[in-house]
Symmetry: C2
Subunit: 239 residues, 2 copies
């Protein structure tokens, strides 16, 4: 059993000694069912918002898992990208949030748009608890510990006109827009703010609002990709 | 109602006149529920392995949909990438296949590997019908018509040692491998064969087999991404 599986994220309340944790619930089940770990095995662990390292299984049964942990590795650097994402369908939301976290995005604004159905804002998937869980899945998948921030922006115009201009100051601001003529730039090293629209795209008036405050519209080519595919494709392209 | 929604793929048996189709089942439901189309609306359509265009709703009710179609646009060019993918978990398979098709991949080999659980090969999701359906979802999403080919390769060594050398002749062959030192190349224009391992990666012996026949191992960085995220990330990066 080597460190090829997901990282297990630990929180301060899991520690009952400086280097010992006890885990129950989801993480216990995961280690029993997916890692199929036994005493003596080493697992990849990390402390939420802290260091990464290895955890040695000291005791495991159906009730709890005890690990002795050694934490000596700093998490991978964050991706210098602030994501502005039109709220996706609930079914797509979880995957998109986890994927964003797995790629190192640390700042996400979920925003309203003309083609975002109103009912999406009432989805239980928007609860703080669910969003946090999806972020943690993404961190565990990728081997990171730094929890991203998600903000919900239900009012398009006040957010884009009044808040976003401060956010994009000194950064490259890009709007993924199907009808744009310019191709996505490559090999960026500085900070980027990237806006991605809903299924069907931002309407022209919304795209204009972004462009009026300084966003450049970029195209992904002739194909229309799902939001989580477009996001990973663009990150691979931009950085 | 404009052409921002998914493309509806038509097959020859849907035509009852040169420019008229009648649709039932999934596509009828999709047009009623998602497009919410009424008589006179125009929908984006394409003929499987043929041209794209617009379809005008002539009649729609709960039993069937009739469109008059005008086909005048050639599909987007294929991505010059042959994908060799270790068979993912059934839950991940559908998404990965649809995502691959949406990005324009036309040749996919699903292969066995040490870390592919044997049970995955018995999944009903590997049926020809399901795989075709996922490919069509990907084409409909992205606005393409050319159906990709999927082959199942249950025997790793004979496939990699005997078949792959012919496939990679004259192409750049890349192996996504977490421990590789070389970064993924950029801005490729020629044909590529890309191999992506299972969760946890190919084992060293498998990675060596790929490298012995001419694959170059490339890294995606310190983060470990899910297969469908890694695939989109790499395509954004490579081309």
């Amino acid at each position: 059993m080597s460190c090829v599986m997901n990282t297990i994220l630990l929180e301060t309340e899991d520690f009952f000694a400086t280097d010992r944790v006890r885990l129950l619930g989801r993480r216990l089940r995961h280690v029993r069912e997916i890692h199929q770990a036994a005493e003596g095995d080493e697992l990849r662990v990390g402390v939420l918002n802290g260091k990464l390292g290895c955890g040695r299984v000291e005791r495991i049964d159906q009730h709890s898992l005890e690990l002795s942990v050694r934490l000596d590795l700093i998490p991978p650097p964050p991706l210098p990208l602030h994501l502005i994402l039109a709220l996706p369908r609930p079914k797509v939301l979880n995957r998109s949030i986890a994927a964003a976290a797995s790629m190192g995005i640390k700042q996400i604004d979920l925003i309203n748009a003309w083609r975002v159905e109103k009912a999406y804002w009432d989805s239980p998937k928007l609860s703080e608890q669910n969003l946090r869980e999806q972020l943690i899945f993404g961190l565990e998948q990728s081997g990171d510990t730094i929890l991203p921030t998600i903000r919900l922006q239900r009012l398009f115009v006040p957010f884009v006109r009044e808040e976003l201009p401060k956010e994009i100051s000194g950064r490259l601001a890009l709007l993924a827009h199907p009808t744009a003529e310019r191709e996505a730039p490559r090999c960026l090293t500085g900070p980027v703010v990237l806006a991605i629209g809903p299924e069907g795209g931002f309407i022209e008036r919304e795209a204009n609002t972004f462009q009026e405050i300084g966003f450049e519209a970029i195209s992904l080519g002739r194909r229309i990709l799902r939001v989580e595919t477009a996001l990973a494709f663009l990150i691979g392209r931009l950085f």
